[in-house]
């Protein structure tokens, strides 16, 4: 489905473009299967956001390549869509118009895209909020709008860059559960960036642990907890605790 091969990225200093400032990624390789939920976990500066932005086609890698269905990724495309850390909502558009945005860019006629947008707003539980502006709703609701907007393009791969980093702890758990419920319906492939160990275990099939300076993959951990995970208290499961201890150790050294 998705293959990342020998990816390297170097950031250069702004004021002296010839001087390298940071090796954000060094020889990163991994692959993701269809319908897999993969978390990229690591401390800040480990290149996980850079990696997801390269996959999205927003920035270019210096070495290596990314293949989606055996085609090289060079620019943003229909097959991938991004959910942003700070939600990335357009403040001058209502909730509905924000969800419409992706289809509007593709040139889908107004009536059709509004119908699709309403459908996805219902999926994330926001029907009735169509006419609100982003600043009038809570952070958790704003990110639901962001998710609805991304899903409305029916992407094969959903890229999520610390999507729940900017909301409070309770809302965060609620959103995690809802994301899993939505995912069981839409069945996208998801790549999810986070720095929370618990979040990564709770959500994913696989956690890719990354390390900083230079950014590289430390370990690839399979999460073999039963799904659906919102039934019962998965976080209290001894296997969950064992994974948490293991990943924390792995991150530490």
């Amino acid at each position: 489905m998705l293959e990342v091969r020998e990816l390297s990225k170097v950031f250069f200093e702004d004021n002296d473009p010839r001087k390298p400032g940071l090796v954000a990624l060094h020889n990163v390789s991994f692959s993701v299967r269809q319908n897999e939920f993969v978390c990229l976990l690591g401390p800040s500066g480990c290149g996980k956001t850079t990696l997801i932005r390269i996959i999205a086609g927003l920035i270019r890698a210096d070495r290596g390549e990314i293949l989606v269905e055996n085609k090289r990724v060079v620019a943003p495309g229909r097959d991938r869509c991004m959910v942003f850390q700070q939600f990335g909502l357009l403040p001058w558009r209502t909730v509905l118009a924000n969800v419409e945005f992706g289809l509007e860019i593709e040139g889908v006629p107004r009536e059709e895209r509004q119908a699709v947008a309403r459908q996805y707003l219902e999926l994330v539980g926001l029907n009735g909020f169509e006419k609100y502006y982003p600043h009038q709703i809570s952070g958790g609701m704003q990110q639901r709008v962001g998710i609805a907007r991304a899903l409305s393009k029916k992407p094969d791969i959903l890229l999520m860059d610390e999507p729940f980093g900017a909301v409070d702890a309770q809302t965060r758990e609620q959103l995690q559960e809802e994301l899993l419920k939505i995912w069981t319906k839409t069945k996208n492939t998801v790549i999810f960036v986070t720095h929370s160990i618990d979040e990564s275990i709770y959500l994913s099939d696989r956690v890719i642990i990354m390390q900083a300076r230079p950014g590289r993959i430390k370990e690839d951990v399979k999460i073999e907890l039963p799904r659906p995970r919102w039934e019962g208290d998965v976080r209290a499961d001894p296997r969950f605790a064992a994974l948490r201890t293991h990943i924390r150790e792995s991150l530490r050294c």
Partner: protein, 273 residues
């Protein structure tokens, strides 16, 4: 930058493609742009009637003449004295009255309608009346400068004082500070960033006021030179004065900005924490 990183970059054989682009040298583009403009002006200006349009070299000559004769220095000293006096008065009265209006809701209710009415009136329109009242000399110029600069300072000070949060004032009360102590040790320092912002706006307006007053009284100062040389059709000399005024504006605004940054330095740390 760790040596380790450099090793990796060397291994990868990475080098930024097109290390030098035109955009890395913005000042070159700027200089070229200005140079082209000056040359075009010089060529075109020499062909046109010098009464109407001058050209760069003529402006430089005129500047030289005005500087060596001492006229520019004399008129500038005159303008700056008036500016200092009028502006100084507006700072003192604006901050003083602003503190009163910010602290007392009664004073604010009583004065606000008048202030708003005067502020809404384009102050230039009052200049002829002021000339009738105060004559054509030093006084009228100082008064016009005062009127131009006074309102931004007053309004900013008042809203700065009102913006001091109740919890900040409560800190003062909890430590048993008296009303005057609260005013000078809590409220005033907290309002300083607002006051400085008002002063920055006011300095620009004060310069406009100075030029307007001098244009109309047409006796002394840089503005008077404009009127005088305008009547004599000496365009090159007019440009010298305009350039001097532009430089003066930049210098004074930059100076207030520097002062603003110094006096409101804590504002940055507050935002960061």
């Amino acid at each position: 930058m760790a040596a380790h990183d450099e090793q990796i970059i060397a291994d990868l054989g990475l080098r930024r493609e097109s290390a030098r682009s035109l955009y890395d040298y913005p000042n070159v583009i700027r200089a070229l742009s200005v140079l082209c403009f000056l040359i075009a002006w010089e060529i075109y200006g020499r062909r046109v009637d010098p009464l109407l349009l001058t050209y760069p070299t003529a402006v430089v000559q005129a500047a030289f003449a005005l500087i060596t004769s001492g006229e520019l220095r004399r008129q500038m000293a005159d303008s700056l004295t008036t500016l200092a006096l009028g502006f100084g008065a507006s700072v003192i009265l604006g901050v003083g009255l602003g503190l009163v209006m910010g602290r007392s809701r009664i004073a604010s209710a009583a004065l606000e309608p008048h202030i708003n009415a005067l502020y809404a009136t384009p102050q230039v329109a009052l200049t002829p009346l002021l000339m009738m009242w105060f004559g054509l000399g030093f006084t009228v110029k100082a008064v016009v400068i005062f009127l131009f600069a006074f309102f931004p300072i007053l309004i900013n000070t008042a809203s700065g004082v009102r913006n001091v949060s109740a919890s900040t004032i409560e800190v003062g009360r909890a430590y048993l500070a008296s009303r005057t102590q609260i005013l000078f040790k809590v409220v005033f320092p907290a309002a300083v960033p607002f006051i400085m912002a008002g002063i920055r706006v006011a300095i620009g307006r004060a310069i406009v006021g100075m030029v307007v007053a001098e244009l109309f009284t047409a006796i002394t100062g840089l503005g008077a030179m404009l009127t005088l040389y305008g009547n004599l059709f000496e365009t090159a000399k007019m440009f010298v004065v305009v350039i001097v005024l532009g430089v003066l504006g930049v210098v004074l605004v930059r100076a207030t900005q520097a002062l603003e940054r110094r006096m409101a330095r804590w504002k940055e740390t507050e935002r960061a924490s």
